[in-house]
């Protein structure tokens, strides 16, 4: 089984896989006027979420009379609210993404394609932004409706180049501008930024977004195939570092990477950010399963 990073975004096979996602999306869809995207917020929706005790002011239409007849308790049914969603996709195309046994940027683009397809299929407004921004990409491209899938994928496929560094805060601030955030913002990146990711993600939260973080990792991120006397050159800066790389040093480096990733997970957990780490070696199904089950933001 090969990973999805090797598949072309516009290949028929990949398109067929996206069609399958659409079926999943349809099964999830229950509301009609309320919008096609089920949110985690409680409210009028089609998907039952839980019961709560009846309290004054609750809509009596949602009292579960069946339960009342059996248990004599007044319980009110609650539903996930269906609403039309703005989906903002931040795809990291910095220099560090141009790396890996399977190129991380290619993998990230496919993740973006999957998430974006789901959004478009569910009538969400999908806004696509690359990090770092190029000149003229300040607002990003916005797509709506399933008919815009093809342009969406074309836009993704057009960004094959990974270059420059990533400053999440600066990029998010520039992309959001003064607008109040709305909807879901999903950041697809390796999150290896020297300036850190914390302030950037906090900014998105404070801007009103529900935030999801998809970390893209390659096996070489944690365990690069290095040995001997090396001059290490940074992909995102002109800096270099000379080291005699030993096995012990690799072990320590791997531990450092692991600590970095654990730090990301802890941070997202504390902030209520849905976070999932994906390996570039994973296949389509596993990636989809992780996105749907692990992330939760793509339901």
């Amino acid at each position: 089984m090969t990973g999805i990073a090797g598949e072309g975004l516009l290949d028929p096979a990949f398109m067929a896989r996206l069609e399958r996602i659409e079926l999943i999306a349809r099964r999830l869809q229950t509301g009609e006027a309320r919008g096609d995207v089920t949110t985690r917020r409680r409210g009028p929706g089609s998907l039952f979420r839980e019961h709560k005790n009846y309290s004054q002011g609750d809509d009596v239409r949602f009292v579960d009379w069946n339960v009342y007849s059996r248990l004599g308790e007044l319980l009110v049914k609650q539903f996930d609210a269906d609403e039309n969603l703005d989906l903002t996709l931040y795809v990291d195309a910095s220099g560090s993404m141009d790396f890996g046994q399977r190129r991380k940027l290619d993998f990230a683009l496919r993740i973006a394609a999957i998430v974006g397809y789901i959004g478009l299929a569910r009538q969400a407004s999908v806004r696509l932004l690359f990090l770092p921004r190029r000149a003229g990409e300040d607002g990003g491209a916005i797509f709506f409706g399933k008919r815009r899938v093809q342009p969406f994928l074309t836009a993704l496929d057009a960004r094959r180049e990974a270059r420059g560094g990533t400053d999440f805060l600066r990029e998010f601030r520039a992309a959001a501008g003064s607008r109040r955030g709305r909807g879901l913002a999903i950041v697809i990146s390796d999150f290896f930024s020297e300036t850190g990711y914390e302030k950037g993600l906090d900014f998105l939260l404070h801007a009103g977004y529900r935030v999801g973080a998809v970390q893209v990792l390659d096996v070489l991120d944690a365990r690069p195939d290095l040995d001997g006397r090396l001059r290490l050159a940074d992909l995102e800066s002109p800096r270099t570092l000379e080291r005699i790389v030993t096995r012990r040093m690799l072990d320590e480096y791997e531990a450092e990477v692991r600590r970095w990733c654990e730090g990301l997970a802890r941070f997202c957990g504390r902030r209520g950010i849905a976070q999932v780490s994906l390996d570039t070696a994973w296949d389509f199904d596993r990636v989809l399963r992780s996105l749907l089950a692990g992330g939760g933001f793509a339901r």
Binding site: A233, D234, E236, L241, I244, T246, M249, Y253, E256, V257
Partner: protein
């Protein structure tokens, strides 16, 4: 070591690429990493860096070794080896009659040969398979060649030979030739005494069995009167092993046989033979030879060269209470001049009546009150009136002042270092000077040695005693010469001819090939083969034989130590020189060896003249042991080099991945 493809060896120089690559790799290689800031957080540990460098150097070494091993393996290394075919060692034990010869311990030559083979068996068996064959009148295989040493040893011990007959040489030659022609590396060893081993077939290694090599030995030689008073040479013979049948010969210097007598002896028997003595002054050779063709003897027979010498002697009487032993010793030494058999010792109180019967009278420690009767006297610490000397008591710590002239009695002797603790004060009186009495050696007490002739009395006078506590004179080597000179001087007109003596000790050329006794087999190239009939040296092959000047030690209590020159003494009883006792009337001395008493002649007989104990060297024709066959072969060492390469590879792997963690 050689290589099948040596043209590949220059590829070894390509191994230099390894260190060159290493040097190239020492320059840091540029590698892009996605997030350098994480690398910057990793700590650097210098110890690990150093270990890494050492490991890298080891890696270079390992890689070069691996490369070298592979290249060498590719070149087809070969080791030049040889396949040594285990030799077959055939031990031939001689069981012919000569092997019955017994040594002093009573062991036969065969038993010695068996013991020697038993001793060598371990070493021989380590070299190959040992077989055992008895050779005599025929050949009999006792033990076929095999590696079982115990079986060979048992077979060796079980041999009960009859030790008779002669060696079937022709059969042995054929058998040896057949064995050597079989192509298998074969070493044939013949354990035999010299008689037959000398002529061992080509290709056979003769292991000589040492021991008596004589058929029979001349054990004693003496000259004395025969049954009718004629001079007779008497020779004692003894068979040394096995039965001896042969002849006793007496030859003169020309080789002419003066006497030829048949001898037949059983093992260990002795016999005394007599032959008319040749005229005095002639050299003779007493010789024994076995009969031709008889297989019951060894290769060599004994022979002694002798000289029948005339002898003059003086009769001597010693007048003393206790005769100084050194003086008697000296008298015996001078037996060319003094007839020891006629010598007597007389008491001081009654010597005068018989003094006229003796040529020289020796007075020791005697103080005569009357003048001496006419005659010849040696006065040792003795006094007598009428000698032209004045005796005036004794003095101690006497010094030597002057030695006057050589005189007749101190020829070539220097007594100025003589030590005297006590001496008489002796002065030459004026009347003595007129009569010709003079002091020869003068000391602080007067004349220490004086000589003169007065009133029919010829004398030599010593003013001191010969006891060691009084003087060192008797201990000096000059003393026997002094005594000899005194007797020469005093008895110069009194000599008479005694019966001749046998004087041994000088070799003489003999135109007889003694190296080829009658029954000795002819050996090509052996001693005597060339010019065998010409003049050749005597048995000792030209070694000078010292004249038998007997220097007997001092007799003690009537006994005389054995003269070392008596050849048969060590022959008869090795290690026990025995004790000499007084001579019997016939002039023979009794030799006591343990419980045995033997009368032996004290004629001038030299041990070196007897061949009885000679160990004959192996003849030059003894063949060298055959070399075992060796087949050269090449052993392929490729797999060793491949294994070495694999081993180093594993070692390198272990160093990098297990044993040396960096």
């Amino acid at each position: 070591m050689s290589f099948l493809r040596p043209e590949l060896l220059p590829w070894l120089s390509a191994l230099l690429v390894v260190p060159l690559l290493y040097l190239a790799r020492r320059r840091a290689r540029r590698v892009v990493v996605p997030h350098l800031f994480l690398w910057e957080r990793v700590r650097i540990r210098e110890g690990r860096v150093k270990a890494r460098r050492i490991r890298d150097l080891l890696g270079i070494l390992f890689q070069m070794l691996i490369g070298a091993a592979l290249i060498l393996a590719w070149a087809g290394p070969q080791r030049e080896d040889e396949l040594v075919e285990a030799p077959r060692i055939l031990a031939l034990l001689d069981v012919s009659a000569p092997m019955a010869r017994r040594d002093e311990d009573g062991r036969t030559a065969f038993e010695r040969a068996r013991a020697r083979l038993r001793g060598e068996l371990e070493g021989l068996a380590a070299r190959g398979e040992v077989g055992l064959v008895l050779v005599g009148e025929g050949l009999r295989t006792v033990s076929a060649p095999g590696p079982d040493r115990e079986a060979i040893r048992a077979a060796l011990d079980a041999i009960v030979p009859d030790l008779a007959g002669r060696l079937d040489r022709e059969g042995l030659d054929r058998w040896v030739a057949a064995r050597l022609a079989e192509g298998r590396p074969t070493e044939i060893r013949l354990y035999s005494v010299g008689a037959e081993g000398e002529a061992a077939p080509p290709g056979v290694l003769w292991v000589p069995i040492e021991g008596p090599t004589m058929n029979a030995a001349i054990t004693r030689v003496e000259l004395g009167p025969g049954a009718e008073g004629e001079a007779t040479v008497r020779v004692g013979l003894r068979a040394l092993g096995g039965r001896f049948e042969g002849h006793f010969l007496l030859r003169d210097e020309t080789g002419e046989i003066l006497h030829d007598g048949a001898v037949s002896l059983d093992d260990g028997d002795t016999v005394e033979l007599g032959a008319p003595a040749p005229p005095p002054g002639t050299w003779v050779r007493a010789e024994i030879e076995r009969d031709e063709g008889r297989p019951d003897a060894m290769a060599f027979d004994d022979a002694v060269d002798l000289r029948v010498a005339p002898r003059a002697a003086l009769r001597c009487a010693v007048v003393a209470k206790d005769a100084p032993p050194r003086l008697l010793d000296a008298l015996l030494v001078c037996d060319d001049l003094i007839d020891a058999r006629a010598a007597v010792r007389l008491p001081p109180e009654s010597w005068r009546p018989s003094a006229a019967e003796y040529d020289v009278v020796v007075l020791c420690g005697v103080e005569e009150a009357r003048p001496l009767p006419p005659g010849r006297y040696l006065l040792v610490d003795s006094t007598a009136p009428g000698l032209g000397l004045a005796f005036e008591g004794r003095d101690r710590d006497v010094g030597i002042l002057r030695q006057g002239g050589q005189g007749p009695v101190l020829r070539g002797l220097d007594l100025r270092n003589l030590r005297l603790s006590e001496a008489r004060r002796v002065a030459v009186r004026p009347d003595g000077r007129r009569a010709g009495v003079r002091a020869i050696l003068e000391g602080t007490t007067g004349a220490l040695v004086s000589a003169g002739e007065i009133d029919g009395v010829s004398f030599v006078q010593l003013a001191f005693g010969l006891e060691e506590e009084r003087s060192s004179f008797a201990l000096l080597p000059a003393f026997p010469l002094f005594v000899n000179d005194v007797f020469e001087h005093l008895g110069r007109e009194r000599r008479r001819l005694l019966p001749p003596v046998l004087a041994a000790g000088r070799s003489f050329p003999l135109p007889v090939d003694r190296g080829r006794p009658a029954a000795r087999p002819a050996v090509a190239g052996a001693e005597g083969a060339e010019g065998a009939e010409g003049e050749r040296p005597a048995p000792t092959e030209g070694e000078p034989r010292a004249p038998s000047e007997v220097q007997r030690p001092a007799p003690a209590a009537g006994e005389l130590p054995a003269p070392a020159e008596a050849s048969f003494v060590p022959l008869e009883a090795a290690g026990d020189a025995g004790r000499w006792r007084a001579p019997d009337p016939a002039g023979r001395w009794e030799l006591a060896i343990g419980d045995r008493r033997e009368l032996v002649g004290v004629a001038r007989f030299d041990e070196a003249l007897s061949d009885a104990t000679r160990v004959w060297p192996a003849p030059a024709t003894t063949p060298a042991p055959p070399e075992p066959l060796r087949h050269p072969r090449q052993r392929d060492l490729t797999w060793i080099f491949l294994a070495a390469a694999l081993g180093v590879l594993l070692l390198e792997w272990w160093t990098y991945h297990r044993g040396w963690s960096t």
